[in-house]
C-alpha cells in the first residue's frame, strides 16, 4: 500500500560516506508505506554552515535548484540529514513567502532555464515516520521483527531539524520526546541525558575550521551520554553521525579518551529492528565498531 511517494534527496555524507543509511532509509520506509524515488541530478544542499557563511545568495540559489528538480517531478522531497533540512526546507519555506527573494533566485535560475514555483513541501524522514497520518510509532512497532531488547539508546536530535523554533514546526527545542518515542518503538530503551539538545559541534564549518574545538563539544556530549549508561547514540543527521563516529577516533588521537560508543542513523537502527543484517546496513563502514551493540540485540 505505497500511497506516500517522495523524491529522496540524498545530500553528500549519507550517499558518499554512510550509504547504509541511504539503503536502510529506502528499504525500511518501503515496508512502512513510503516510496522514496531517486531525485536525479541533485547536488550538495549546499551545506548551510559552509555556504551560508560565504554568500547567502549562492546558498539560496543552489538550494532552490534542488527544490526545482523535485518540482519538475511533481513530488514532495524527503531527506535524512538535518543540515540538508535547513538548506532545502528553510530555503523552500522562505522562497514561498518572500517575493523579492524568489524573484532574485529565479533571476539566477533563469540562466540554467529553471524556475522556482513553490509547488512542493520538504520533509525530514524522521518527521514522516513520527506523523501518525503517514506512519506513526504504532505502525513502526508492528513492522519490527527483531526488537532491540536490553539496550539503552541516547537520542541526539541535532540543531537544524529543530531550531530556530520560530521557523520550525517540530515542537519543543528544550525537552522534546518524539525521537525517544521513535527509538522505543524499536523495542530499545531511550535514555535521557544531560544537555541533550546541545549541538554535536560540527556545524557552521567549525569541524573544518577548528577540529579540536568541535571535538571538545562532541566530547562533552559523549561524557553525558556515557553517564546516562547508553549503549549507543542515535542521530537523524549523517553530519552529526560523522562527528560522533569519526569524531571518537579523532578524540582518541587528540584527547587520549576512548569511548567505543556505537553511533547509528535512525534509519540504520530501524533497518536492524526490521531484520536487515549488519552488512546489508553497511555497519562495517562505521569508524566505531557496532559489534558490542549488535551482540546485545541480535
Amino acid at each position: 500500500m505505497t500511497e506516500h511517494k517522495y523524491a529522496f534527496y540524498l545530500g553528500c555524507i549519507a550517499p558518499n560516506r554512510y550509504p547504509g543509511s541511504e539503503s536502510a532509509s529506502i528499504r525500511t520506509s518501503k515496508r512502512l508505506g513510503i516510496d522514496l524515488v531517486p531525485l536525479e541530478g541533485a547536488s550538495c544542499c549546499p551545506a548551510p554552515g559552509a555556504f551560508g557563511s560565504i554568500d547567502l545568495n549562492v546558498w539560496y540559489a543552489m538550494a532552490a535548484r534542488n527544490v526545482v528538480l523535485a518540482e519538475q517531478m511533481g513530488l514532495d522531497i524527503a531527506l535524512i540529514c538535518n543540515g540538508c533540512y535547513k538548506s532545502i526546507y528553510e530555503v523552500n519555506h522562505k522562497l514561498k513567502h518572500n517575493k523579492e527573494l524568489r524573484d532574485g533566485v529565479n533571476e539566477v535560475l533563469k540562466e540554467i532555464d529553471m524556475e522556482y514555483k513553490g509547488t512542493i513541501d520538504v520533509w525530514h524522514l524522521g518527521e514522516l515516520l513520527y506523523d501518525p497520518d503517514i506512519v506513526g510509532v504504532d505502525k513502526i512497532r508492528e513492522s519490527i521483527k527483531v526488537p532491540l531488547k536490553g539496550v539503552k539508546v541516547a537520542a541526539h536530535y541535532g540543531c537544524h531539524l529543530m531550531k530556530p523554533k520560530k521557523e520550525r514546526h517540530l515542537g519543543s527545542t528544550e525537552a522534546p520526546r518524539w525521537v525517544e518515542e521513535l527509538v522505543e518503538a524499536l523495542g530499545a530503551e531511550a535514555v535521557e541525558y544531560r544537555n541533550k539538545m546541545q549541538c554535536c559541534g560540527a556545524g557552521g564549518g567549525v569541524r573544518g575550521y577548528d577540529l579540536v574545538h568541535s571535538l571538545d563539544i562532541t566530547n562533552e556530549k559523549l561524557i553525558n551520554i556515557v553517564e546516562a549508561g547508553a549503549d549507543a547514540v542515535v542521530d537523524l543527521c549523517p553530519f552529526c553521525q560523522l562527528q560522533f563516529d569519526r569524531g571518537q577516533i579523532e578524540i582518541e588521537e587528540k584527547f587520549g579518551i576512548k569511548y567505543d560508543m556505537p553511533v547509528f542513523h535512525y534509519a540504520e537502527l530501524l533497518g536492524l529492528a526490521q531484520g536487515m543484517s549488519p552488512s546489508e546496513l553497511g555497519l562495517d563502514l562505521h569508524a566505531i565498531s557496532t559489534e558490542p551493540f549488535l551482540k546485545k540485540v541480535l
Binding site: K166, S172, T173, E174, A175, E192, R194, N195, A228
Partner: protein, 679 residues
C-alpha cells in the same frame, strides 16, 4: 435629506453667526500650520461672524477673548480650532456658557493631535487640513441647538470587584465615607495575593501582620456588604444607576445570619473546623500553591475573613459525614444552590488583581519539569511561617534545606518573543532582594544568587534596601539565565548564564532556583471588564482614562480601576491608587446627582412609521412603540438612552433625531468637506 427641524425647537432659530477662534498652542500648532492663512480662510466661510487667534486659547485670558467676542458680535455659536475635544471640550463649553450661549452651541476642530503633531514636516498639507477641519466644524456649529444636560440621581452605594489589598482599601475608604459598599470577591476569603506573602519590602513587615487588621476591619464594617465566592454576572445601567447581578456561588455552608434566616436558632458556621477532619476527600490547597492539602470542606488559612468553611463541589462526594460532625449548628446544606442577587450602585471600582504568568511555557528554565525550580509565589509560601513547611525552606525533591539558591529575574517579563510578556512586572526585583535577605536570615551559610539584567529599585527606601541586601552577602550576577539543566541523580540544578560584566559564561550548580515570574491579568478579568464596558490596553491590563492625569478612572463614566489589574505595581502604589479610586468613586455619590451629556435620541413622530426596527437595535432597551393619536410611534425613555446613535444610524424613515449628532449636522459636515462648503 428632509428639511432639518428638530422636534424640540419651537420658535424659528436665529440666523447662525459663528465665531472661529484659532489657537497657536505655543508652537504646537503654529509650528506646522500657517495660522494667518487659516484665519483669512475662516473669514471667507458662510455663517462666520468673527475670526481671531490666540497663543493659548484654553488659558483664562484666551477664554475671556471668546466671551467678549460672543457678546460684542452677537454670535450664536463658537468654534475653537485647537487640541482634541477629549481634552478641552469641557473648558470651552464652560467659556461658551459664561458668554451667555448654551454650552452645546460649541464645536472643536482638532488641529493639533490629529493635525500639526502628525504632519510636522508638511506645512502645506497641515494648513489645508486645518482649513477643511474649520470649515467642517463651522458647518456643524451652524446647526447646533440648545441642549440641557440631563442630571440623574446617583444611588448612594458603591461596588468594589475583587477583595485583595486594593479592593479592601477602596471598600474601607468608601465605607468610612458613609457609603454602602458591596465588596464582591470570587474566592472564599478576602486578602488576595498579599495574604499569600511572608514579608513585604522594603520594611520587611510581616505581610499577614499588616493585612489581617484591615481584613478584620472589612469583616466588621457595617457599611461593607461582603460577598465572597461571588462573581459579577450581569451589568445594566450607567453612572449613578448600575444594576449589577451578582452570582453568589453555593458554598454549602450557612453563615450564622443565613442560618438564623432559615430559623436555625444559634446555628451557622462558627469556623470551629469540626467538619474538616471527618471529610474523606483531600485536595491541594490553592492558597498554598498546591503544596499543602485541604479537605473538600475547607478554609484556606486560619485568618480567613469571613470565617466560614466552603465546600469544593468538584471534589465533594456528598457523603454527609461533615453534616453529622457539624451537629446541631446545622451549618452545612449539601443541596445549596447558587443565588443571583441584584444590587443597585452608583459607582464601581474594579480591583481584580493579577495571577502569575504560566512560566512553564518558557521551557528553558524547566518549571514543572525540574522538581527544585519553583515560582516566587511558591517560595513565599515555603518561607512563610504559616506556610506548608512552617517557614522552613525545603527542596521539593528531597526535603533538604537548600544552601545555594538562585533567583532568575525577568522570568517571562521584558520578553518580546510572543511567549512571555513585553512589559516589566515592576516588583519582582524588589521581592527577589527580599527573598535573598530572608534566606540569609533564616538559613545560616546559605548563599542567594540573583541573576538580573537591571535591579529596578525605584521606590522610597528601595535603593537603600538593595544596598543593605548586597551588604548582607547576596551575590549579584548581571546576566539573564539562558537555560537550566537538572542533575538526574542529585536533582541539583545547573544554571547556565553569562556574567556580562565579567564577559564569561557561568555554569553554577545550585540546590534550588526561584523564578521571579511575570504577572498577568487573572483569567476572570477579561469577562468582568467587558460587562462594565472597560477596554484593555494592548498588554491586557485594564485601560485607564489617562495614564498620567486620570490613572484611576476609565472611559466608562462611574467605573474606576485600582491595583495591579490596571498594570503591575507594588503594594504602596496599589494602596495609593485604591485610595485615589475610592475618593474618585465617592464624588458622584456625595454630589447625589451627575450630569449626563444630553446626546439622547428623540423621535420625530410625524416621520415615524412605527416599524420598530430601532427598538431591537437598542442595547439598552431604551426605545418602545406606543400608540399616539391613532398611530404607533417610537418613544424614547431618555433616562435609559446613552446616545450611541445605533438606532439613528439605521432608521429607514430618518425619523430619529440624535441630539448634538443629528443627521443634518453630520451631513453638513460631510458636504462641508467634500463640496467645499457650498450647499
Amino acid at each position: 435629506m428632509a428639511e432639518a427641524v428638530s422636534p424640540s425647537t419651537s420658535e424659528k432659530p436665529k440666523a447662525p453667526r459663528i465665531g472661529v477662534f484659532v489657537c497657536h498652542c505655543g508652537t504646537n500648532i503654529a509650528g506646522s500650520i500657517d495660522i494667518e492663512a487659516v484665519k483669512e480662510y475662516a473669514k471667507t466661510l458662510p455663517n462666520v461672524g468673527y475670526v481671531n487667534d490666540y497663543k493659548y486659547q484654553c488659558s483664562m485670558p484666551g477664554q475671556v477673548t471668546i466671551q467678549d467676542a460672543v457678546k460684542e458680535n452677537d454670535l450664536t455659536g463658537v468654534v475653537v480650532a485647537a487640541c482634541s475635544p477629549r481634552l478641552h471640550e469641557p473648558t470651552f463649553r464652560a467659556a461658551t456658557k459664561d458668554a451667555g450661549l448654551n454650552p452645546f452651541r460649541f464645536e472643536m476642530a482638532n488641529i493639533r493631535e490629529q493635525n500639526s503633531w502628525v504632519h510636522m514636516h508638511d506645512q502645506e498639507g497641515a494648513t489645508q487640513k486645518a482649513k477643511d477641519a474649520i470649515r467642517i466644524a463651522v458647518a456643524k456649529a451652524s446647526l447646533l441647538e440648545d441642549l440641557y444636560p440631563k442630571s440623574v440621581p446617583v444611588e448612594h452605594a458603591a461596588m468594589v470587584v475583587g477583595a485583595g489589598v486594593a479592593g479592601m482599601q477602596a471598600a474601607l475608604d468608601l465605607a468610612n465615607a458613609g457609603i454602602k459598599t458591596y465588596l464582591v470577591e470570587k474566592s472564599p476569603t478576602i486578602g488576595g495575593r498579599m495574604s499569600q506573602l511572608d514579608k513585604t519590602f522594603p520594611t520587611l513587615d510581616c505581610s499577614q501582620c499588616i493585612l489581617t487588621p484591615k481584613m478584620v476591619d472589612v469583616g466588621r464594617a457595617e457599611n461593607i456588604v461582603l460577598m465572597v465566592n461571588s462573581e459579577v454576572e450581569e451589568v445594566e445601567g450607567y453612572i449613578g444607576n448600575f444594576d449589577v447581578t451578582i452570582r453568589r456561588k453555593a458554598t454549602g455552608v450557612l453563615s450564622p445570619a443565613e442560618a438564623e434566616a432559615k430559623g436555625i436558632v444559634g446555628g451557622g458556621c462558627t469556623g470551629c473546623g469540626d467538619c474538616a477532619p471527618v471529610c474523606p476527600v483531600t485536595k491541594p490547597n490553592e492558597f498554598e500553591m498546591g503544596m499543602a492539602p485541604r479537605k473538600a470542606i475547607y478554609i484556606y488559612h486560619p485568618q480567613v475573613v469571613p470565617l466560614l468553611y466552603t465546600i469544593d463541589w468538584d471534589s465533594c462526594v456528598k457523603c454527609g459525614l461533615c453534616v453529622e460532625a457539624c451537629g446541631e449548628k446545622k451549618a452545612i446544606d449539601l443541596e445549596m444552590q447558587d443565588e443571583l442577587v441584584k444590587v443597585k450602585v452608583g459607582t464601581v471600582i474594579l480591583a481584580t488583581g493579577f495571577e502569575v504568568f504560566p512560566i512553564e511555557t518558557k521551557e528553558e528554565w524547566g518549571y514543572k519539569r525540574y522538581d527544585n525550580v519553583i515560582t516566587s509565589l511558591e517560595f513565599e509560601r515555603l518561607i512563610c511561617a504559616s506556610g506548608p513547611t512552617g517557614g522552613h525552606l525545603v527542596r521539593p525533591s528531597d526535603g533538604e534545606t537548600p544552601m545555594r539558591i538562585g533567583f532568575v529575574l525577568c522570568a517571562g517579563s521584558r520578553d518580546s518573543t510572543g511567549v512571555g510578556k513585553p512589559y516589566c512586572s515592576r516588583f519582582c526585583c524588589m521581592y527577589s532582594l527580599k527573598h535573598a535577605h530572608q534566606i540569609i536570615e533564616k538559613i545560616p551559610g546559605a548563599v542567594p544568587y540573583i541573576f538580573y539584567m537591571d535591579i529596578r529599585s525605584f521606590g522610597k527606601a528601595y535603593e537603600e534596601f538593595y544596598y543593605r541586601i548586597q551588604d548582607e552577602g547576596a551575590k549579584f550576577i548581571r546576566g539573564r539565565v539562558s537555560n537550566i539543566q537538572e542533575d538526574p541523580v542529585t536533582k541539583n540544578l545547573k544554571v547556565y548564564v553569562e556574567d556580562t560584566l565579567l564577559g564569561r559564561p557561568m555554569e553554577l550548580e545550585l540546590d534550588m532556583v526561584v523564578l521571579a515570574a511575570a504577572v498577568q491579568p487573572t483569567e476572570m478579568t477579561n469577562k468582568t471588564r467587558k460587562l462594565f464596558g472597560v477596554s484593555c490596553s494592548t498588554d491586557g491590563w485594564l485601560l485607564e482614562a489617562h495614564p498620567k492625569l486620570n490613572p484611576c478612572g476609565t472611559t466608562t463614566a462611574g467605573v474606576f480601576v485600582a491595583g495591579v489589574c490596571q498594570g503591575p505595581k507594588d503594594i504602596p502604589d496599589t494602596v495609593a491608587q485604591a485610595e485615589g479610586a475610592a475618593s474618585a468613586a465617592s464624588i458622584p455619590i456625595h454630589r447625589g446627582e451627575v450630569e449626563l451629556e444630553p446626546y439622547y435620541a428623540m423621535c420625530i413622530e410625524e416621520k415615524c412609521a412605527g416599524c420598530g426596527m430601532c427598538v431591537n437595535l437598542c442595547p439598552y432597551q431604551a426605545l418602545s412603540l406606543v400608540e399616539k393619536d391613532g398611530r404607533t410611534v417610537m418613544q424614547v425613555t431618555e433616562a435609559k438612552c446613552k446616545g450611541c446613535g445605533t438606532c439613528g444610524g439605521f432608521c429607514p424613515g430618518g425619523a430619529i433625531w440624535m441630539n448634538h449628532f443629528a443627521t443634518p449636522q453630520i451631513v453638513a459636515q460631510i458636504d462641508a468637506f467634500l463640496l467645499g462648503g457650498e450647499q
